[in-house]
């Protein structure tokens, strides 16, 4: 699992059937690389989150048929940017 920061929402109206109507967020890692994660929780931009990857991302989404390889698993209570960058 990784520690990433939510950048913004992502809207895709035309999408794969198995992504259904789940919310998507653009997240960044400590180097600034952007990725897209499924968000079952409702994280806000600026939140530090724990993301689950690999096949566990599908179980984390609540239904193993959902096609995702990155899902937000939790919103971190206390985390600071300096600790994240180093």
């Amino acid at each position: 699992m990784q520690i990433l920061r939510v950048v913004r929402d992502l809207v895709t109206t035309k999408r794969n059937f198995w992504l259904s109507a789940k919310a998507l967020r653009v997240v960044e890692d400590h180097r600034g690389n952007l990725e897209v994660a499924l968000d079952p929780l409702g994280a806000k931009p600026g939140d530090f989150v724990v993301t689950i990857g690999l096949s566990a991302a599908r179980t984390a989404a609540g239904n193993p048929n959902i096609t995702t390889d990155l899902t937000i698993g939790g919103i971190i209570d206390h985390w600071d940017e300096e600790r994240w960058r180093n």
Binding site: I3, H30, V50, I52, G53, L54, A56, A60, G73, G74
Partner: protein, 115 residues
């Protein structure tokens, strides 16, 4: 399996239900400076050297096939001298290493360490 050192616990109150109330730890993989988060069913302290499994084995190691983990700690290394670990990796450069890096590696599956 990866060799990691535990940095500390991670508090995430808002979490998906299937993560339950398991302890999450921030760990640093040996030889890299990126932080990762692992599920801890064993009970580790900050500073412990641990072994962690990834991919679908991480889900089984966390207790059930449906548990959403991609990195789970499976054992605490009894003795790990990080300098000797590096010497083991460069065995060709060092003709007579005093300790083998693998000699001290033991998993700790003792449930009494659970917290």
């Amino acid at each position: 399996m990866k060799i990691c050192q535990v940095e500390g616990t991670l508090v995430a109150t808002a979490r998906i239900g299937s993560l339950q109330n398991r302890r999450l730890l921030v760990v640093k993989e040996r030889g890299s400076n990126g932080k990762q988060v692992a599920v801890d069913p064993v009970g580790c302290k900050p500073g412990d050297w641990v072994i962690a499994v990834g991919s679908s084995a991480a889900r089984d190691a966390a207790g059930s096939k449906d548990y959403p983990s991609d990195l789970t700690i499976v054992g605490i290394i009894d003795y790990w001298d990080d300098a000797s670990g590096q010497a083991g990796a460069n065995a060709g450069a060092n003709p007579a290493p005093k300790t083998s890096s693998k000699a001290g590696v033991k998993t700790d599956a003792n449930p009494s360490r659970r917290t």
